[in-house]
């Protein structure tokens, strides 16, 4: 199984690579179009700010490539947010894969949300063998609005989409690579899709 983690210069992505290593899978970091196209699984990671991350995807024309991919693709954290229509963070358009918008939490809660929160209403095989609700590790100031493509929801400030799916594209707001055993199960499930 060839797993490629798209390396477009944002954030600490080694942890995702290490998480796959713990599952016995060597995941490659790359921004090479051919390698990404040929991979069995593609991860779009991301930590940082949305509009500058979009600029980086555009510089390498990955913004055109990603929506055309046919294999299972998993966006993690900012990676998931970039796959949405639009983000309030830096007022940027996203990759327009998920039909929802990314907004900032209001001042009525502490921002960023930092720590373990539950995911609920789990749908699809991405959550095979994951109990409901289950705790996941989250760190974020922006959230994807709940929508019909949500395959998991989380409550903080309001009910938002903590995982999304459209066709072969999956996105998770939480960090499976940092979410203990349950997170490992989700990564395993992604490989088994």
């Amino acid at each position: 199984m060839k797993v490629v983690i798209i390396d477009y210069g944002v954030g600490n992505i080694k942890n995702i690579q290490f998480a796959f290593e713990r599952l016995g899978i060597t995941a490659q970091l790359s921004q090479d179009t051919d390698l990404i196209k040929q991979a069995d699984r593609v991860i779009l990671p991301g930590v940082g700010e949305a509009s500058s991350a979009m600029i980086k995807l555009k510089e390498t024309r990955l913004d055109e490539l990603i929506p055309t991919l046919k294999q299972p693709v998993l966006g993690i954290c900012l990676g998931m947010q970039l796959m949405c229509n639009y983000s309030e963070e830096g007022h940027t358009n996203g990759l327009q894969i998920f039909d929802t918008q990314v907004k900032r939490f209001t001042k009525s809660v502490k921002v960023p949300q930092m720590g373990w929160n539950t995911i609920n209403n789990l749908k699809t095989d991405l959550f095979f063998n994951v109990k409901m609700p289950e705790y996941m590790y989250l760190v974020h100031s922006y959230y994807a609005e709940n929508c019909s493509q949500a395959i998991a929801v989380t409550e903080y400030d309001l009910l938002y989409a903590s995982a999304l799916k459209k066709d072969n594209f999956y996105g998770v707001q939480f960090h499976p690579e940092k979410s203990s055993k349950a997170g490992e199960q989700i990564l395993k499930n992604f490989l088994n899709l």
Partner: protein, 252 residues
């Protein structure tokens, strides 16, 4: 619901844990990777590694340790101690740390916080603040609590929030090591005046102290070292007790 976090803290010198760790079931309690793994398995929500190496050689060993921890541990961890530049942080994050704690360097040059949050995002910038009460007001101390400054705790905390800190690790020097409970009044004030998470540190002795830190101090997380290292408090017991007291907690 977002849960409260329990964070064991490990002091690191030259890549090894120091300050006494007493686990009878651990063959090598000085190995931070083995210890970190044990904590991760026993329900810790996060870990903090505090480097107290004074030499360059010690710092290099720290990077190796961070890499090993990142490879083996499936929960988030923060690294602090002697972090003083964008380059330091870059190296630590690239080695797999999830967050970095800055303290004295931020006091010396507060713009560092902004540089770090602009470059790496607020979510990985923890500002550690050591403070103690002098004549009734909380004064910030630098260099591991050895040098008093003129800064007021609450003013400084607000400043670092505005500069882009994602979280504050507040250690009360008055409470640290006493095992008499956390600085709940100061914690509650920090929590109400700031809109970023606050980690309580210093003073943990009993399970009730943790309950108070959350219920009276409104802390988002509580950090402790010796009560965990010496097995005075088992993390699982602690979390069960917190849950019995209606404090949201992750029990897996």
């Amino acid at each position: 619901m977002l849960t409260k976090r329990i964070i064991p803290c490990l002091d690191i010198k030259n890549g090894r844990t120091v300050k006494g760790v007493n686990f009878i079931d651990l063959k090598d309690a000085g190995d931070p990777v083995i210890l970190a793994k044990k904590y991760a398995q026993s329900g810790a929500d996060e870990l903090v590694f505090l480097d107290i190496s004074a030499t360059l050689e010690g710092r290099k060993t720290l990077i190796d340790m961070v890499l090993q921890v990142a490879k083996e541990i499936n929960i988030p961890f923060t690294v602090g101690g002697g972090v003083s530049s964008v380059e330091d942080v870059d190296l630590l994050l690239q080695s797999g740390a999830d967050k970095v704690a800055v303290n004295s360097a931020a006091l010396k040059r507060p713009e560092l916080i902004k540089e770090l949050s602009d470059k790496f995002g607020s979510q990985c910038v923890v500002v550690a603040i050591d403070a103690k009460q002098i004549d009734g007001s909380w004064k910030v101390h630098s260099a591991g609590g050895t040098i008093p400054t003129e800064l007021d705790l609450f003013t400084w905390a607000k400043t670092v929030e505005n500069l882009g800190a994602g979280e504050i690790l507040f250690t009360s020097m008055d409470h640290d090591g006493t095992k008499q409970g956390f600085a709940n009044t100061a914690l509650a004030r920090l929590s109400s005046e700031l809109n970023i998470p606050i980690i309580a540190s210093g003073g943990a002795g009993t399970i009730d102290h943790f309950i108070d830190a959350f219920q009276k101090g409104y802390a988002d997380a509580a950090l402790a070292a010796s009560v965990f290292h010496f097995g005075t408090i088992e993390i699982l017991d602690l979390k069960k007790k917190l849950q019995e007291n209606n404090i949201p907690i992750r029990l897996s």
